[in-house]
Amino acid sequence: MSEILFYLGAVMIIIGGICDLFGAIGLLRFPNFYVRLHAATVGTIGGAVVPLFGVALLALGADFLPHRYAIAGASFITGIIVLLAAPAGATALAYAAHKAKLVEWKPKVDHLAEVRGND
């Protein structure tokens, strides 16, 4: 049981590292603000939430660790808070940038405008 938890947690932490790397590359290479925001959110959800859950599983599986339930609980709660907060923060940033017209807006597809145009 503890071995399964160990491997599951380790895989999740590795996934987190990969997501962080991709998020960083995306932040550097993507063309405009909105797409970069997507890369940043990949970095927070994939690179912080997933490894935090992984740490929780690892701690649950480690029998020798003192206070392992406290560590697992704290990581799990922190992961949930980040999971809730990151999309809300990204939404707020995108909304503010769009509202203040700070970023050039050149959509390839605008479903919202199509829907509004059909009304």
Binding site: I77, I81, L84, A85, P87, A88, T91, A92, Y95
Partner: protein
């Protein structure tokens, strides 16, 4: 290529320096540390708090901590003085502008959930201050994030309409300060020293370890710091246009 060489050289230098100047690890507890441990954790006249640093901060260096707290409150009083307003101006600052578009729904909903979580976490940091790292100041600082988030996601008017305005925050802060002063002065009544912890305050109540006066100090500091920060955040959230109007700045 040149940048890579610089980077590698820097990294090598840092690692070499860290290796050469290793901090010597102490082999056993020094006499002073032993004295503090004996008298703050193990002894009969001790708070029996496993978080020895908190007991030392409030017991042995209590006056020091009290004046550190006083510095923070002087800073808050200073910012309140900078933002002083007459009664009409206060009313002007509190009136809500008519056309205000709310933020998208996901942001507001998530803020509600997270504010509730922050309240729980900050209370836990403050009230476990005698058991785990943390304490009143840290818990209060965490508490102050909750009104800050509400100001960001809704507005300062949302806080004020729900009853938490600057005056209430200041009253809460004063209650916290008064509590700290009272807990510090109570030992004088029974002929002990100021800010003395044991044996005036019980270390345990019903088998629950509360660390003597530590939990009271932590709670009141939590209240005072959280409310003080909230008052300053409410002042900082006053829109610029209102201040321009009050000060009579021409555009």
């Amino acid at each position: 290529m040149k940048r890579w060489v610089t980077l590698i050289l820097l990294l090598a230098a840092v690692i070499t320096l860290a290796y050469v100047f290793q901090v010597p690890q102490p082999e056993d507890v020094r006499p002073l540390g032993e004295f503090y441990l004996e008298n703050s954790y193990f002894g009969d006249y001790s708070a029996k708090s496993p978080e020895v640093i908190t007991s030392i901060l409030w017991d042995y260096r209590g006056i020091d901590t009290l004046f550190e707290t006083a510095v923070f409150f002087l800073a808050i009083i200073g910012s309140l003085t900078v933002f002083r307003l007459t009664r009409e101006q206060e009313k002007e600052v509190k009136t809500e502008p008519t056309q205000m578009e709310p933020l998208p729904l996901p942001i507001r909903t998530v803020t509600k959930v997270i504010v509730a979580m922050i309240l729980a976490v900050s209370a836990s940091i403050a009230l476990h201050g005698h058991l785990t790292p943390g304490g009143g100041f840290q818990g209060g600082s965490a508490l102050a994030v909750a009104p800050l988030l509400i100001i960001a996601a809704y507005s300062k008017y949302a806080l004020e309409n729900n009853g938490l305005d600057k005056t209430r925050a200041l009253i809460l802060r004063s209650i916290g300060l008064l509590g700290i002063a009272l807990v510090a002065l109570v030992p004088l009544l029974s002929g002990s020293y100021i800010m003395q912890n044991q044996p005036i305050f019980p270390a345990e109540i019903n088998g629950q370890l509360i660390g003597g006066s530590l939990i009271y100090y932590n709670f009141f500091e939590f209240l005072a710091v959280g409310a003080g920060f909230t008052a300053v955040f409410l002042l900082l959230a006053i829109p610029e246009e209102k201040f321009k109007k009050i000060l009579g700045v021409r555009r």
